[in-house]
Subunit: 463 residues, 2 copies
Amino acid sequence: MPEIDSELELALNYLDHNKDESLNRLFDILKIPSISTQEKYSKDCLNAANWFVEQLKDIGFDASIRETNGHPMVVAHFEQEGPHFLFYGHYDVQPIDPIELWNHNPFEPKIEESNNGEIIKARGASDDKGQVMTFIEACRAHIKTSGTLPCKISILLEGEEEIGSPSMSNFLKDNKKELTADYCLVCDTGMWDYKTPCITTMLRGMVGDEIKITAANRDLHSGMYGGLATNPIHVLSNILSLLYDKDGRITLEGFYDDVPELSNEQKEQWESLNFDAKEFLSNVGLSNIIGEKDYSPLEKIWSRPTCEVNGIWGGYTEPGFKTVLPSEASAKVSFRLVGKQDPDKVLKSFRNHVSKNLPSDCKVEFLAKAGSGASSLEINSPEVKAAEKALYDEWNVSPKMVGCGGSIPIGDHFKSILGTNSLLVGFGLDDDKIHSPNEKYNLSSYQKGTRSWTRIIFNLSKI
Amino acid sequence: MPEIDSELELALNYLDHNKDESLNRLFDILKIPSISTQEKYSKDCLNAANWFVEQLKDIGFDASIRETNGHPMVVAHFEQEGPHFLFYGHYDVQPIDPIELWNHNPFEPKIEESNNGEIIKARGASDDKGQVMTFIEACRAHIKTSGTLPCKISILLEGEEEIGSPSMSNFLKDNKKELTADYCLVCDTGMWDYKTPCITTMLRGMVGDEIKITAANRDLHSGMYGGLATNPIHVLSNILSLLYDKDGRITLEGFYDDVPELSNEQKEQWESLNFDAKEFLSNVGLSNIIGEKDYSPLEKIWSRPTCEVNGIWGGYTEPGFKTVLPSEASAKVSFRLVGKQDPDKVLKSFRNHVSKNLPSDCKVEFLAKAGSGASSLEINSPEVKAAEKALYDEWNVSPKMVGCGGSIPIGDHFKSILGTNSLLVGFGLDDDKIHSPNEKYNLSSYQKGTRSWTRIIFNLSKI
């Protein structure tokens, strides 16, 4: 027993004595603008993938680039006795617009002071490069001090998480034998607050669609046609406004069929978290708690499905005026899914809603985003218990068991394709501004996150 | 009498023998991209104004550039005995987007064959450079053949018609004495069909607004905030969809207070025009006649007020997906006004509608477009009769007396500031695609339009 503890101690000591080198490695990968949704950054996505391959090879993993129809995967294995864990993360990041709201170049990472200590500022600092690096740096600490890892670890990094993981499902199917492990580990979630870690046991799924409504075959002069001819912006506004009723419920037919009510036990547990929704919203300048009547704020963002319009455009949008009846109007719409909601069924119901409310002389084109279902985890499994203990040891406080409104489709894929559960532990914070200008990751998230994974890997190897 | 007719004959003959030179002059001005709404074309607007000054000086007008807070005016006078007419037109043009839908460079004019003879293709060919040139070329023909004009003519060209003429009202007030004439002449309207000219006796007014709705103080992750936080695109869609009721009526409070019903006489006259709304719409790929219940298509576009959303934008609009709850969403909205509707009152009612439907934690900013009221003309005046006769002589068919859905604010300004009525004669056609890609002006509109003005000027001088 003292010997085993000292293995862990050695690894943790190594981390404490090599903080600068570890931070430099994170800065290196944050400099690569691997924006997956914009084609002009394709080369950068490949560069990011290659960077991870080199890092993993450097500490002894058998790592390689694996082609897909989109951005490549990184797959790496470290052979060892004992249980087998598959770690997942993503190297792609969100776009940086509106660029004018950033206080610095999003791909020139830097350290700044904040009320909660130092923070690392860059696109991807939190989502997900910083989080991925906490795990890789934990592996490095074990390997550099013990010469090996205490169990078999595989790593799978994708470059399409921010665009809905279109290649993942087929990749897992095609490489099922190689990738199937005893348990999956994912680092793409958040902490309860900057002193309290979390294990995320519920994740919403997602499906999205882009619609383009076409009315006239060209832009029309509003003076000549206005009041007589169909304006596609009016059609689109109307279709979008009909997605909700007065009680905040989504009106799509059958939308709530596969949405379970929360168990009383879970409800009580979440109530005990004393989540301050007013404060949560006031941090971003809002004060109204909207959404479904009769559900608590935490239910709304963790266990209830949503529908959000993420983008809209049509007609003249430059400075000045152009009195046009445009030919086209478009919107991007996405749904967060829970329980047994089927992405394809939701998509079909949405399209029916659009078609049903479309004037007969308009056309609509649909451009779907790949979807994935929701997932949830058994909270009394030995893996969850091992992680809980590790997090307690590092943070001196019991981790909260929470839901997450975000969608990490991988949880659903690992379960349905590999038959494997996923442990979701991450060190992001609500104010990390992921997907927004001025994204950051707390330095403590990075450093204590790395120490946390060092402990979790150690504990998991003893199961 | 034979002497007088021969003056006119000489001028008309001159036109027939100098067609190429006349077309070349039109091409010269069409090459200048005088887009008034986009600041980067400011220099081009000035160039276009200067070009007209030089043309008018060349044929003996006392012409000059006149500064405003925006793009300059062109003012020119040709002193002569007899009645005084003020001609109005504009040298600015609409933006060219979407540029990819043009079949050629919008500012490299060219002649093409069409089913109705040759056409001149370019931005501004019809609206309004081609139309302005029909009048100036008519003046040239008189001057070149008689050494003078048969009456006093002043010309006023503005460079801000496409952005709502923000400087016009003050300019007319400041130069009232210089510009007040016996009657105003405007060439910015259309023909009934390519063989039948029109005199436009009713014009709608216009007022517009741009609204920007702000919810959170930054873009939010839809997974973390979706279902709980206000999405400004939803707010905007809702506000816009509430602008209409199910019968196509605009819901703004007091909107129809100052809208007169059409007289039975006018109604019957318009019914006798046998306007084929189905065909009018099918030419632009539409089939549904929408708008206010219980009103005829011609009433809808000539004598009823409208509300149209001309542009909308918010959130992520690039290729791919970004699951964002945006901070802001915007729209440009414009109203066509009739009867005694007051632009300021309509604007106020619109803003009340927006504010009333705005969640308490959202902000809205308004950026108004200058407005103008509607105008109408006495159809039995000697000026209208003189023009009617001239048009009959040129086209061998009686001109139609029509309304116009478009807004030429100048009619309202001339009446209210100068106390002068305006004769609206133009040679545009419904398929000219003004404000759209591939704008054109029929060669016959240009050439017979010039001959028409030559006759109108002659007839008016005899009143």
